[in-house]
Amino acid sequence: MTITPVAETATGATQPPSVLRRLGRLMLSEYFVLVLCVAYVLAIAPFVPEILSWEVASNILSDMMPLLVVAIGQTFVLIIAGIDLSVTAIVSMSAVVGASVMTGTGGYLGDTAFAVPGAVLAMLFTGLVIGAINGFSVIRLNMPSFIVTLATRMFFAGAAVWYVTFHSTSSSIANLPESFAEFATGHLFGIPLTVIAAGLIAVVAHVVLSRTRFGRAVYAVGANPRAARVSGIPVERTILFCFLISGVCASVAATIYVSRMQTGSPIVGENILLDVIGAVVIGGTSLFGGKGKIVWTVFGVLFLLLLDTSMKLLGASLFAIYIIKGGVILLAALVDVARNRWLVGR
């Protein structure tokens, strides 16, 4: 029987320098990224004290919500050792479909009582359909998810722009019901509605992954699909469900974006792909599958937004921000590899 290196260093008499040991233990901890967030804020605060202001904090929180919801869906797909590159296209497609349903200028349900609920259902359905296309292509046609979702990403990103040309003379669909805007601006007990919605999704996703049969199946399929199959886990159904979850999460994010911008734009989600996958990876979810947690993803998204916001406050150019984010994500991927190596003994 092997003893874990962590236990060894904790109990052994001769030990490596304690700083290294602590650092090692911290890197293996659940809350590593949260600690990193706090450390980062403390380190950057002298230069941009605004980051500690209520206004900036609430901005970060509201920026975080749509990204978090998409990242939660992505977490499911990454755990089964897949990847969903189509999330941004799902956001865009859902946005324009939803807007076309509820717009006052020629919307399918425009100016009726069903405009908003109908639009929301249409958006979720769009996410479900694209997720189903992804899932079925992966399980039935045995295509790698990278290629499948790269293809659906291009297809629906284009289709969203094309779709708008049938419903609007401009490049996006405007004139949406006033009541829909309240989703982005409204509060319940002083908490923004979007935060409540995203928080609810995060809690449900966390429980599903950590405490249910389905969650166990997700990890098993990601860790070793062959062993999962022999144990009677419905491998294909599990993969399909993960893509459906990712699709629906992306369309929920679309409702937030559309509500906030009060327009259905086909390019709304274009730039978030890097942030979504980067955030999940920064959180610690493994690209090799079988490992990942919703809590990690929450911390990952938070860290990425802290980075983003502080850089903007510092006046860094967009390109500089990209460079730094890219570097941090690369570092996170490296940490993932290092963790895997250190965890060999665990």
Binding site: M1, T212, A223, N224, R226, A228, R229, S231
Partner: protein, 506 residues
């Protein structure tokens, strides 16, 4: 007559277990030595020592009278020793000539460019020697298994090999290809090259070899000229040891109820109208070589592999288009031969593995798992399996020994109280103590009324445990042995005998 290779007193142990006890053998130039023995008898270890992969603890080797002590595989190659393995070591995406020179491309006038012309000429010469009429630029991917093997031999010749070791060379060859190979081996012998020929296909060994050495449990059980080694003698030397008392006595007799009925199961190239029955409380042994269809049969019954026609009934209920989910639902459990790849989730804990095939029994409404129950049933499983640790929630199965891992696999299936348990190589790679425990568990299983289909490469194990033994060869059930005591030589002959050339393997 001179000797090419003289091995004497070769001894080697792994982790305190001695696997070679002073083995001696001799290979003369222009002669073929057949090396036979059951799995684990020490054949591969001695060949690994010869090839410089392992170093012996005692014993000497002399090559052409010179002391030979390879430190790594490179030493063996430069000493003129070549291996033709069961799985060929060629790059299918490269051409024949590139494969031949891949580790030492001749340079063009000393510059770092490959001298294509030199390669081509040398390749043509060696291909001619092995009677292979193909262009040197042919990609290896386009060659048949037999042709690829000849390319391997050509590669050995191009490196001026003096001793060529064949390890199960006929496994994936058709009969004409086998004949062609034997012709080439005869040519090699005529050139004075020494051969070591390792195979389970004893007829082939007799056809090729001049002398034969039989290994058993790391000892040289017997050796002599091929003329004094008929197949029967080889088999009895191989299995010689009597059945030990490690097989526990069965307290219960098989019942009447048929728990598994397979009828005319066929899949082209894999299974030929296989029919068999397993009764409640009965252990049916399936003897056959690797590739005979024994594991494939199990995988088809469990729904892992497809089949073209035939029916499967479990407890009288038809199991149509089986999938693992349906098979498990019907009451089948399956211990696969690939414990690390399929039996367990190695990174998961003992507890997580214990319930992975029976999540429904530990889940409440909405599929929420009851972690306390998971922990308690896992600890209970660990106790009844005599697991080495009770830290079921903390210990990942990859940190368990092979025997303990296998107990977790069995324990996870026992939670489902299977009516039929298919065991494919249940004791592979586990020590004797754990083996005995596994046998005890199998016995307890039948006492409870489960049927067992037992697949094993160890004839001893099949004889020690089974109520009935079927032999499978080339996808067909070729013989059935119904009564104890079993005639192990007849079983071995049925599994390896007249059809040996099609499916023999390690």
């Amino acid at each position: 007559m001179s000797t090419l290779l003289e091995v004497s007193g070769l001894t080697k142990s792994f982790f305190g277990v001695t696997v070679l006890h002073g083995v001696d053998f001799v290979v003369r130039p222009g002669e073929a030595l057949g090396l036979v023995g059951e799995n684990g008898s020490g054949k591969s270890t001695s060949m690994n020592i010869l090839g410089g992969v392992h170093r012996p603890e005692a014993g000497t080797m002399r090559l052409d009278g010179q002391a030979y002590a390879p430190q790594n595989p490179k030493d063996a190659i430069s000493a003129g020793i070549a291996f033709i393995h069961q799985e060929l070591n060629l790059f299918p995406n490269l051409s024949v000539e590139e494969n031949l020179f891949v580790d030492a491309f001749p340079r063009w006038n000393g510059l770092p460019f490959i001298d294509r012309r030199a390669i081509r000429a040398q390749t043509e010469a060696v291909l001619h020697e092995v009677d292979l009429d193909i262009r040197p630029s042919t990609p290896v991917a386009r060659l048949s298994q037999g042709e690829r093997q000849l390319v391997e031999i050509a590669k050995a010749l191009s490196r001026k090999a003096r001793l060529i070791i064949f390890d199960e060379p006929t496994t994936s060859l058709t009969r004409p290809e086998v004949d062609r190979l034997f012709g080439i081996i005869a040519k090699l012998k005529a050139r004075g090259i020494g051969i070591i020929y390792i195979s389970h296909a004893l007829e082939d060994v007799l056809a090729v070899c001049d002398s034969i050495a039989v290994l058993r449990d790391g000892h040289l059980a017997g050796a002599g000229p091929a003329s004094e080694m008929p197949i029967g003698r080889m088999i009895s030397l191989m299995v010689g040891r009597s059945i030990d008392t490690i097989y526990p006595d069965r307290q219960t007799a098989p019942g009447k109820q048929v728990v598994l009925a397979v009828e005319a199961l066929s899949q082209p190239g894999v299974a030929e109208k296989i029919s068999l029955e397993v009764r409640a409380g009965e252990i049916v042994g399936l003897a056959g070589l690797m590739g005979s269809g024994r594991s494939e049969l199990a995988r088809m019954i469990f729904g892992l592999d497809r089949f073209a026609s035939g029916t499967i009934r479990v407890n009288g209920q038809p199991l149509d288009d089986p999938t693992p989910e349906k098979a498990i639902e019907a009451g089948i459990a399956f211990l696969t031969e690939d414990r690390r790849g399929e039996g367990l989730l190695m990174d998961f804990t003992i507890a997580e593995n214990t319930v992975i095939a029976s999540l429904d029994s530990v889940a409440g409404p909405l599929g929420i798992l009851d972690n306390k129950r998971i922990a308690s049933v896992s600890r209970e499983m660990g106790r009844s399996m005599h697991l080495s640790t009770d830290k079921v929630e903390e210990t990942r199965v990859k940190h368990l020994s092979g025997g303990n891992q296998q107990k977790v696999v069995i324990g996870k299936w026992l939670r489902r109280e299977p009516t039929l348990f298919i065991l494919d190589e249940p004791t592979r790679g586990i020590d004797v103590g754990a083996k005995q425990e596994v046998y005890r568990i199998i016995n307890a299983l039948t006492a409870r009324g489960s049927g067992v289909l037992l697949i094993s490469s160890e004839i001893e194990e099949l004889i020690g445990l089974s109520d009935r033994i079927l032999t499978i060869s080339r996808g067909e059930i070729v013989a059935e042995f119904n009564n104890r005591p079993f005639d192990r030589e007849a079983i071995m002959a049925a599994a390896t005998g007249q059809r040996a050339w099609e499916g023999a393997s390690a």
